[in-house]
Symmetry: C2
DNA sequence: TAAATATGCAACAACATAGTTGCATGTCGT
DNA sequence: ACGACATGCAACTATGTTGTTGCATATTTA
C-alpha cells in the first residue's frame, strides 16, 4: 500500500501539541459575538467594556463573560486604568491557530498531490 | 484622533459575511476530538466510522455525533459504500476559516504599523 | 461629600453539548 | 438463510454555555 510513507508524519501531526493546543482557541472564536469582539479589538485601540457593549443587543455582563472566555484562550488581555478596564487584542495565540489551519491545509494539498500522481500513472 | 481613517474599513470587516460565517466553522473545530478527526481525514483517505473510532476512548456513537457536527459545518462529507459510511475531508470551509484569521492578523499588523509610524513622528 | 460612572459578583433560567446504553436495521460472506 | 459486521435511532444523564437580573464596590467629577 502507499499510505505507510506518510503515515508517520500524519501521526506526528496528531501527537504534536500544536493541534491539540489549538482546540480551545477555536472554541473561543466559535461564537459570533466573540468573533466580533476580536475583530473590533484587532483594529488596534484598547476599549472598555462599556464601549464594547455599545451597539450590541446583549448586556454588559454578557460581554464581560465573553471577554473572559477570550482571555482564558489568550486572545485578549486587559489593562486596568482607573475605574475602567481596557481590553486589547493579543496576537500570539491567533497566530498559533493560523499555523494549525495551515498545517491541515498543507496536509490536504499533499494528499491531493499524491492522488494526482497516482492518476497520472494509470 | 487617528482612528477615523481606518474606522470604515474595520466596520466593513465586521459587516461583511466573511467573519460571521466563520463562527460555526471555528465552533466545529473547537473540540479536541473533532480537531483530531479533521487531522486524520485531511491525510487523504476516506475512513469508516469504525476506523475513526479505533484508537479512541469514546464510543462509536459519540464519534458519529462529532462527525455530524463537522458535516453541519461543511468540514467533512460522507459517502455511503455498501454497509459502510465513509467520511472524507472537505477543504473549502476550512479555507474560509483560514482567510478569516488572515484578515484579522492583517488588520492587527496594520494597526501595529500605524502605531510604529506615530512613535517615529514623536 | 454626593451623584454619576464603570465595573464586579452571585444566583438563576434556558438551552446546548458530550457521552452513554439499548435495541433496531441493513449488508456482506458462507 | 444465517451469523457477523457496520451503522442508525432514541432515550437518558451530566455538564457546560449563554444570557439575564439584582446588588455591591470602586473611581471620577461637581
Amino acid at each position: 500500500m502507499s499510505p505507510p510513507a506518510n503515515a508517520r508524519s500524519s501521526k506526528a501531526l496528531l501527537k504534536g501539541p500544536a493541534l491539540r493546543k489549538s482546540a480551545p482557541i477555536f472554541a473561543a472564536l466559535g461564537d459570533e459575538t466573540r468573533l466580533r469582539l476580536v475583530a473590533v479589538l484587532c483594529a488596534g485601540s484598547a476599549l472598555s467594556i462599556a464601549q464594547l457593549t455599545d451597539g450590541t443587543d446583549i448586556t454588559r455582563q454578557a460581554v464581560t463573560k465573553h471577554l473572559q472566555v477570550l482571555a482564558d484562550a489568550g486572545l485578549v488581555r486587559d489593562v486596568k486604568v482607573g475605574r475602567e478596564r481596557l481590553w486589547e487584542f493579543e496576537s500570539s495565540r491567533l497566530d498559533e491557530a493560523r499555523r494549525s489551519l495551515d498545517i491541515i491545509a498543507q496536509q490536504w494539498d499533499a494528499a491531493l498531490g499524491r492522488l494526482q500522481l497516482a492518476l497520472e500513472r494509470s
